[in-house]
Amino acid sequence: MSNEKKYYGYQGKWLEVDLTKGSLKDRVFEEATLKKYLGSSAMGTKILCDETGPETDPLGPDNVIIFAAGFLNNTKALLGGRYQVISKSPLTNAFGEGNSGGTFGPALKRSGYDGVIVKGASEKPVYIAINNGVGTIESADGVWGRDSFETSDILQEKYGKKAVVACIGAGGENLVKYAAVMNDGHEARCVGRAGMGTVMGSKKLKAIVALGEHETQVMYPDKLNEDVKKIAKELGPSLKDNPFRKYGTPFAYTGALATGDLPIKNWSVGMDENMKKLTIDTLEKKMDLSAYFCKQCILGCGVTVQVTEGKYKSGKTGGPEYETMAMLGSNLLIDDIQAVQWGNELCNRYGIDTISAGSTIGWAIEAFEQGYITKEDTDGLELKWGDPDVMIELIHRIAKKENIGKLLAEGSAKAAEIIGGNSDAFAVHVRGLDFPAHDPRSHLASAIAYVTNPRGACHQASAHNLDKNPTGIETIRWDKALVPGSSEHVGSWVAELQNAMNMIDSLGACKFSGTVLGASPITKYTEWINAITGWELQPADVAEVGERIHNLKWLYNFRCGATRKDFKLPPRISTRKRGALDNAEHLPSIDIMLSDYFYQRGWSEFGMPLPETIERLGLEEYALADVHPGPKLEIG
C-alpha cells in the first residue's frame, strides 16, 4: 500500500492513545516542528516536555510514554532501523529514554505512524494493535502474566509473522523500577534503561503490536538508493566475515579487561585472573553462535546463541551483549559464560535491564558482606561473589518482587537509601541510573559523559573511550587534539559527541554507523536526510538539532529538580583506585572537565544553559523563568 501523505521521510501522523478513556486519535505535527525536532529522540523529548513536568508521578496515569520510530526507519538508509522510547523515568524521577534495534521501529512506520503517544492508565491489562493505519486497544487476557518470548509468540500467532511485538514481562508487570521493553521475541532486542517497561506496566499496557505495508515517501529515491548500493559494494567482502558479525559486542570484553575498563567485583578491584575466562574464545567454545541483523543493518552484530548441553541448556535466543557479560559476569566475579547467558535469557524473558540488575546484585552482595543485609533478609540465601546460583536466584526474586527482590527491584541507589548507613558508598550510579560497564577511572571521557548525560550514567549518549581522537563518530564543530591521559579538552569533546549521538539516536541510526560508513556519519546522514526530504540541510544544522535535543532534555531535568550538585560521580569511582594495570592510580578530575564542558555548551557555572544558548537553539518556551542560570564561565 503506498503512502499518499504529503510528508517525505515521515508518515505524517502519530497515534495518541488514552488508556484511561479507552480512546485513540491521530495527532499531526507541523513540518516546521518535525524539522526543528528531527526524529524520534527529538520529538519524543518535546512531547514529554509539553505533556509532563515536575509534579508528574512516573508511575501515575499523568505520565506519558512515547514510542518513536527513528527518522530513517522504513527507508533504504543503512543502519537506520532503531527506535526510541521516552518517558519520565521511575528510576530517576527525571528524563528517561531507551533505544532498541531489531525490527520494531521500521514496523511501526510501516503500520502508518511515526510514533505512539500513550497517556492515562487502563483498569485492566491491555495491548495496542496497529494494523495498517488503524489502531485498537485490545484485552491482554492470554498474554498478561506471560514472559516476553511467549507474549511475542502468542501475538504473532494472532496477527501473523509480519507483526512485530514490543512488550513487557514480569519485570514491567510487577513494576521493577528498571523494567525493560523487549521486542522481536526470542531475538530479545531490548529498550533496557531507565525503566521504560515499568511505565508500561504502570499503565497496564502489556504490548504494542505493529504491522502494515505503508511505505515512507522519499523525495529523491534514486540518490539514496545509489549511494547505499555504492557503500555496500565498497564494503563487500569485509561485511561477510568479520569479528563484529562473528562475535557481536562481546568482542569488546577482551579490550575492556586489558585496559581496565571492565567492572570487577562491584567496581572494587582492577583485575581478577578468573575474569579472563569470559572472552570470545570461551564464548564460541561454550555455545553455538550465529549473526543477527537488525532491520536495515548490514553489519549484523547482534549475535544469537544456543547453549546445547549442560545445566544451562536452552533454545536459540539473543546472546549476551558486552554490557551483560560484564554486569552479570565480571561485576559479580562469575566466570561461567553459560551461566551469564542464562542470566541474560532470564532478564530478557522477565524484561529487566541486565545492566541495572547486575549493578544492583553487585551492590547487594557487597551489602551482605558488610552486614547491611543478612540471611534473615534473604530467607537463608547467602549472597556471595562468583556464585551463578545466587545471581540467577536474585534475578527471579527481583522480577517477582519476592523477599529481598522487593528491595533490589528499586535499583541500587534507592535500595541504598532505604538500607542507609554507608551502603550508598558502593551504590554505583549517577542520579539513580546504574553505571554501564565502562570505567571512568580508565577512560576519562566516561566520567564527564556519565555525569552530563541526561538520563544518568549512560555510555551510549557520548563516546566513552576517548583516549585519543576517535574517528568512529564525527563531530562538526570541534577538532582540537586530545592529549592521552590528560583531562584537557575532554569535556568539550564529550559535549560535541553528545550532540552527534543525540542526532544518531533521533535518526534511528546505529552507534556503529561510524564503523561502517567511515569517519563522517553526520555528513553522510545529512546527505540522506536531504535525499529523503528534499530539504537543504548542512551537517552543522543536523549537529545543532542534536545540541537542541540535549539542552531540551536537561531543561526538563532542571524543571524536575536537578541542580549543579547532581553533576557528580559516586564515591566508589571518585575515591577508590582500581589498583591494577596502567590506570591503577587514576581518579577522574571531574571538575576540570566540567568547567570545559559547561563552557563548550554555552552553560553557566551552575551547569544550566545560558539565556543566549536557549535563544540560539529556539528553546525559549522551555526556559526556566523562575530559576537564575548562574554566571557565565570564562576560559583563561
Binding site: L235, G236, P237, S238, L239, K240, D241, N242, P243, F244, K246, T249, F251, A252, T254, G255, A256, L257, A258, T259, D261, K276, I280, D281, E284, L299, E321, Y322, E323, A437, H438, H459, Q460, A463, H464, N465, D467, K468, N469, P470, T471, G472, I473, K511, F512, G514, T515, V516, G518, A519, L581, D582
Partner: protein, 72 residues
C-alpha cells in the same frame, strides 16, 4: 600459524607486530576494524602503539584488535 582475532594469517613463524598489522589491514576479515580507530591486545595485555615496532609475534601469541568504538 599466527592468528589475529582468531583468524589465521599467512605468517607461520615470527613477525614484528607493526609488519603484521600492515600486512593484514586490507584483508576483508580485518578491514572493518582496521580502517577505524582500534587498539591491540596481546595475550590479554594492552599494547601501546609506540611499542608496535618492538614486539615480535609468534605462533603462541593471542593477538586481538579491538575497535575503540564498541561496547554495548
Amino acid at each position: 600459524m599466527i592468528r589475529v582475532n582468531n583468524k589465521e594469517t599467512y605468517y607461520d613463524k615470527e613477525v614484528r607486530l607493526d609488519v603484521l598489522l600492515e600486512a593484514i589491514k586490507d584483508e576483508p576479515y580485518h578491514m572493518l576494524i582496521m580502517k577505524n580507530d582500534y587498539f591491540v591486545v596481546l595475550n590479554g595485555k594492552f599494547v601501546d602503539e609506540a611499542n608496535y615496532q618492538k614486539i615480535v609475534i609468534t605462533n603462541d601469541d593471542d593477538v586481538k584488535l579491538i575497535p575503540s568504538i564498541i561496547g554495548g
